[in-house]
Amino acid sequence: MTWLSRNIDLVLELTLEHLWLSLLPIVAGLIIAIPLGQLAWRQQWLRGPMLSLVGLLYTIPSLALFVLLPPILGIGYLSRANLIVALTIYAVALMTRFASDAFASVDSHVRQAAVAMGYDGWRRFWAVDLPLAGPVLLAGLRVVAVSTVSLVTVGVLVGIRSLGFLFTDGLQRNIPVEILTGIVMTVVTALALDALLVLLGRWLMPWSRDGRGRVAARRRRSPRAAVAR
């Protein structure tokens, strides 16, 4: 434990670095997967082949990606961009199927009502399809978040510092506490991010099942406040 007390600053620094390296691929993966998932949902003939193909990306070993990406993208092997792009690919691979399922989960009855009221395509997407796909998108994003946080550690193989550094360093110097700290902090980071997503979901989607308790507490809002949101 003396190792931990002497290196607490290092652990915190690596945790923040780790979090940052995780967030970019998660957000980028979501943004890329939404249009892909929508396309797969709308074009039924495309759905099967497209989801299989995107899913296959997940099976590429990360080391192979680290070697393949730099010449293709013209970035350095040891750059953080290498790791971030690789993890974004994995995030897209996981998230596209969730996104497709999310759009399929929107009640067709509600969608028809939106058409009948005179929503045109683009507005219907932003105002109806996307928010109603939200609960399933969130469920998928939670899986992607946890997976990404754990994958960030492999970046240490190409010299990108994250909590993974504690694994290799602890191994080389034979400090079990250091390795353990790396594992615990990775799990804590994943859990913290997951909790954050759940809270974000409750805040953004108070109407969904997860947020029902909150809605009940807010029932007494004045009617005037309702439209102002």
């Binding site: 009640d107 009855h109 509600v110 028809q112 009502a113 939106a114 058409v115 009948a116 009221m117 005179g118 929503y119 045109d120 507005r123 109806v128 928010p131 109603l132 939200g134 989607m205 108070p206 109407w207 969904s208 809605v215 009940a216 807010r218 029932r219 007494r220 809002r221 004045s222 009617p223 005037r224 406040a225 309702a226 439209v227 102002a228 949101r229």
Partner: protein, 275 residues
């Protein structure tokens, strides 16, 4: 006035949902399309706001061919109420009601004012304004649906089995409420149902549709009862099952009306009962 001229619809899968329908729907009255599933009643209804395009024939509103109108603009000036209300689950009651006025660019405070007034119109407590649809009963949701249909003060209100998913007592309530509203507002209402009782209760004109989108008979409820045009119609309105053939029996000086099975349907009074 809404007019169908030689309207037919064949869906992509080959089903002929509607064939050769000619029909005039007069303004400021309730016209009810009634038929079993597969009779094309909803298809006909949806041709009015271009949610379904006819394969052939013309649908026109006040002489204007709807095919020449922008569908989005057309839909925003026609009220639409559907089964299970079709409310947006992620919008509060008030936001749901004023959806179309807001789409048309109405400001927030004006929309709030309008929404609360509409809640009064359809008999909803203003305290419900901030709730989400899944926190309402089926009957309340349906009232929100009606309020939303009325929000742009449309001349035409399309109602697609709006009371199909609520229990009989609530349905009777909503029907009475609709008749009261129609007495005040005088909209051109096109109402779809599979329930002949509901059709006769609500319709100024009732259009009975047979399988495959053919008009079996149309007319005022009393005229259809007096002279069913075919065996199909007689069967559909229940004339042959004796429910419609009523006779009078005298019990202690009171004229009791019974059906042909002897079940009492009511008593005969001198004057028409106040409605």
């Amino acid at each position: 006035m809404i007019e169908f001229e030689g309207v037919a619809k064949r869906f992509d899968d080959g089903t002929l949902a509607v064939r050769g329908v000619d029909l005039v729907i007069p303004s400021h009255q309730v016209t009810v399309f009634v038929g079993s599933s597969g009779s094309g009643k909803t298809t006909l209804l949806r041709m009015i706001n271009r949610m379904v395009e006819p394969t052939s024939g013309v649908v026109s509103i006040d002489g204007e061919d709807v095919a020449a109108l922008d569908p989005v603009a057309l839909r925003r000036r026609i009220g639409y109420v559907m089964q299970s209300a079709g409310l947006l689950p992620h919008r509060r009651v008030l936001e749901n009601i004023v959806t179309v006025p807001r789409l048309n660019g109405m400001g927030r405070s004006e929309a709030t004012e309008l929404g609360l007034t509409l809640m009064d119109t359809v008999g909803l407590d203003r305290d419900l304004a901030g709730r989400y649809p899944n926190q309402l009963s089926g009957g309340q949701q349906q009232r929100v649906g009606v309020a939303r249909g009325l929000a742009v003060d449309p001349n035409i209100l399309l109602m697609d089995e709006p009371f199909g998913a609520v229990d009989p007592i609530v349905r009777a309530d909503l029907q009475t409420e609709l008749l009261r509203l129609q007495g005040e507002l005088g909209k051109t209402v096109v109402f779809v149902t599979h329930d002949i009782e509901e059709a006769f209760l609500l319709g100024d004109q009732v259009v009975i549709l047979a399988d495959g989108g053919v008009i079996a008979q149309r007319g005022a409820p009393a005229d259809i009862l007096a002279a069913p045009a075919s065996e199909f119609v007689a069967d559909f309105i229940g004339a042959d099952r004796g429910r419609r053939a009523l006779r009078v029996e005298h019990r202690g000086g009171v004229a009791v009306v019974v059906d042909s099975n002897g079940r009492p349907a009511g008593v005969l009074t001198e004057d028409a009962a106040p409605s």
